[in-house]
Amino acid sequence: MRAPAGVKVQFTGGQLQEVRRLQALYPDKRAALLPVLQLAQAAFGYISLEAEEYVAGLFDLSPAHVHEVVTFYTLFFREPKGRHVVSVCHNLTCHLLGARRVLAYLKERLGVEVGGTTPDGKVTLLSVECLCACEMAPMMQVDDRYEGHLTPELVDRILEGLG
């Protein structure tokens, strides 16, 4: 997936300074690859192949080795995502306490399948492994926040609160 036109895969001067700061934190600069990819995702919205090549250049790595890393971890998005990401836990405790109902409700409300993004680009819906908040099962992650003890009413309120 190529970056959409207009998204320039290029860090600003300040971001490049942050890259260098991160690289200097570790005994080997390669260790900053995950943090820099996180920075890239924040800056470019997702990690396109161009972004992988760009980051590879910042680390003197072959693009294949960056691609290995990007495809290994679930938190790197390789395609544009919605403005908000809703990740419903489907692991054991949440499953016992109704994760499937929560997910079905969200699919219906948003009109998307798991992995899909609403046509308005607002929400990407995911179904994920244990987020380690089983005490609030069934739960989900909404961007940076954990939301638990989910009911249809609560899901509605959370969705309404999203900008």
Partner: protein, 534 residues
């Protein structure tokens, strides 16, 4: 050196040796996929499990080094059961496509399944699907479903070439090897990944579907592609002559030599053999008058060439030997030149294309035997002309007869028109070589040479390592080894009888040329020996 026992046999092995290598020394083969002695230890395939001492769990032999008093068992019931299980795991998602897989016959899944697997298949679910028949580059094609993720190819590109083109992407049973999208695997050593791939995942675009491997035979040889002298195997097909458009040589494979090329060869060398079965091969000796060329037999042409060589004064003759020729050829040629007193001898013809070189194997000198030609002494005699001087003299009609061995002078670094002028000015042009080239059409006498796979002999590489190559196939047409052509001409010129074998010539060479003193043809064995240090 630690002493240990493997399957009850004692062995001493240097510290640092792993158990696979230690067992190999005892003739015990511990099956493995990911381990390769030329690469780092990955420990991924889990097939090389052995029992060590009283450890209740089998351990991987690749990652355990020999230790004093260690007791290793490679054939216990537990080990055999583990191997069988691991074979099943390897084949869970492997397609059952051996009949259409080019690796069949040399596939380590097949070999080990028959030896260590033989379980009842019970995987009835849909297998994981991955990309198939994906060209990775000019030489390599990938079938990701057949891949067992041993990572040898990835490690090769990381550790040997340092190019890092390949990776293992995704995770779990969706893991697959591949390139960064849009890139290709085109480093100068790319095809080595085919050799080290234990299964049918990476196959050779040049070789695949040409010949089934069980029809192939093998001869040990030396790559003639540059002065490294990589040890190779020539795989040739005589049993199914209708396959592969009648090409006899099917492929070249690297042959391990610790001192020269270890396990690898470059792609240029690997695919550089096509001239052997090429339509451009010179099949019969020929004599040309005006524009008419007549094919003749050796018995007819040898006296004619001998007569011409003795018709000129030695200073009117030029001889351009080739560092493509074997030591045996060069030695007889030197004898003949000395016999006739020809001063204008050389072997150095600079190539127009500058040769690439790297720190791995590839040398800029694209000839296999420059060192041999130097040591045997095929340079100008005192007062004689070098190659360029010979051509200049030919233009000036001071050289009247020129004997060119193998060189395509039109591809030299010298101005092409000057060379053409020189060739046109000659009274007599003798061309000896395996294939038609820019020189051969103008030659008055054409002497067809056997290629290196059609004969035996020795080359000395850039370090002066003398290495034997063996005959794989018969020469095409009436072609003869260079030494035999030279020897027959010499015989006609009173130089003495034609030696019977390359070995006999080597013996004379070793007796006469200081650098080769003490070397014996047989004792060179597979790995060769260095010349006396000069």
């Amino acid at each position: 050196m630690p002493k240990l026992t493997i399957d009850g046999k004692e062995i001493e092995a240097p510290a640092g040796t792993n158990l696979i290598e230690a067992a190999r020394r005892l003739g015990i083969e511990i099956p493995h996929y990911c381990y390769h002695p030329g690469l780092s230890i990955a420990g991924q395939c889990r097939l090389c499990m052995v029992e060590i001492g009283n450890n209740p769990r089998p351990q991987i032999a690749c990652n355990i080094q020999v230790a004093e008093g260690m007791v290793v068992r490679t054939e216990t019931a537990k080990v055999l059961a583990t191997r069988q299980s691991i074979m099943e795991f390897h084949l869970i998602n492997h397609p059952l496509d051996c009949p259409v897989c080019d690796q069949a016959g040399e596939c380590w899944l097949q070999i080990y399944y028959m030896k260590h697997g033989l379980y009842e298949p019970r995987m009835m679910d849909e297998k994981v699907h991955k990309p198939k028949a994906v060209p990775l580059g000019p030489h390599v094609i990938l079938d990701a479903e057949r891949c067992i993720l041993c990572s040898r190819c990835v490690r090769f590109c990381d550790e040997i070439t340092g190019t890092g083109e390949l990776g293992i992407f995704q995770r779990g049973d969706h893991s697959e090897i591949g390139l960064f999208p849009g890139r290709e695997l085109s480093n100068p050593y790319s095809a080595n990944v085919i050799d080290i791939c234990p299964v049918g995942a990476l196959t050779d675009r040049d070789f695949r579907f040409a010949v089934r491997v069980w029809y192939l035979e093998t001869a040990k040889s030396i790559c003639p592609g540059c002065s490294r002298g990589c040890n190779i195997e020539v795989h040739y097909n005589l049993r199914r002559p209708h396959h592969n458009q009648g090409r006899r040589v099917a492929r070249l494979k690297p042959r391990y030599n610790r001192e020269v090329n270890r396990w690898w060869i470059c792609d240029a060398g690997r695919y550089g053999y096509k001239f052997v079965d090429d339509p451009s091969r010179l099949l019969l000796p020929a004599r040309r008058a005006d524009t008419q060329a007549d094919e003749v037999v050796w018995e007819e042409i040898i006296p004619l060439v001998a007569a011409r060589l003795s018709a000129y004064r030695p200073e009117e003759i030029g001889v351009l030997a080739s560092p493509q020729m074997a030591n045996e050829d060069l030695f007889l040629l030197r004898r003949l030149v000395d016999h006739l007193g020809i001063p204008n001898v050389d072997f150095r013809v600079p190539s127009r294309a500058s040769g690439d070189e790297d720190r791995i194997l590839i040398k800029a000198d694209k000839n296999p035997n420059t060192r041999g030609a130097e040591l045997i002494g095929l340079g100008p005699r005192p007062g004689g002309l070098d190659a360029r001087g010979v051509l200049r003299a030919a233009r000036e009609r001071r050289i009247k007869c020129l004997w060119v061995l193998h060189h395509d002078l039109l591809l030299s670094a010298w101005p092409e028109e000057e060379t053409r002028e020189a060739l046109r000015a000659l009274d007599c042009l003798i061309f000896q070589g395996s294939n038609a080239n820019g020189v051969s059409p103008s030659a008055h006498y054409v002497l067809p040479s056997a290629t290196w796979v059609e004969r035996e002999g020795t080359f000395a590489n850039f370090e002066g390592r003398v290495q034997r190559f063996w005959k794989a196939v018969e020469p095409v047409g009436a072609a003869l080894p260079d030494w035999e052509i030279i020897g027959r001409i010499g015989e006609a010129l009173g130089m003495g009888p034609l030696p019977a074998t390359a070995e006999a010539i080597f013996k004379a060479l070793a007796a006469e040329v200081i650098a080769f003193r003490g070397l014996s043809y047989r004792e060179l064995r597979d790995a060769g020996k260095p010349v006396a240090s000069s």
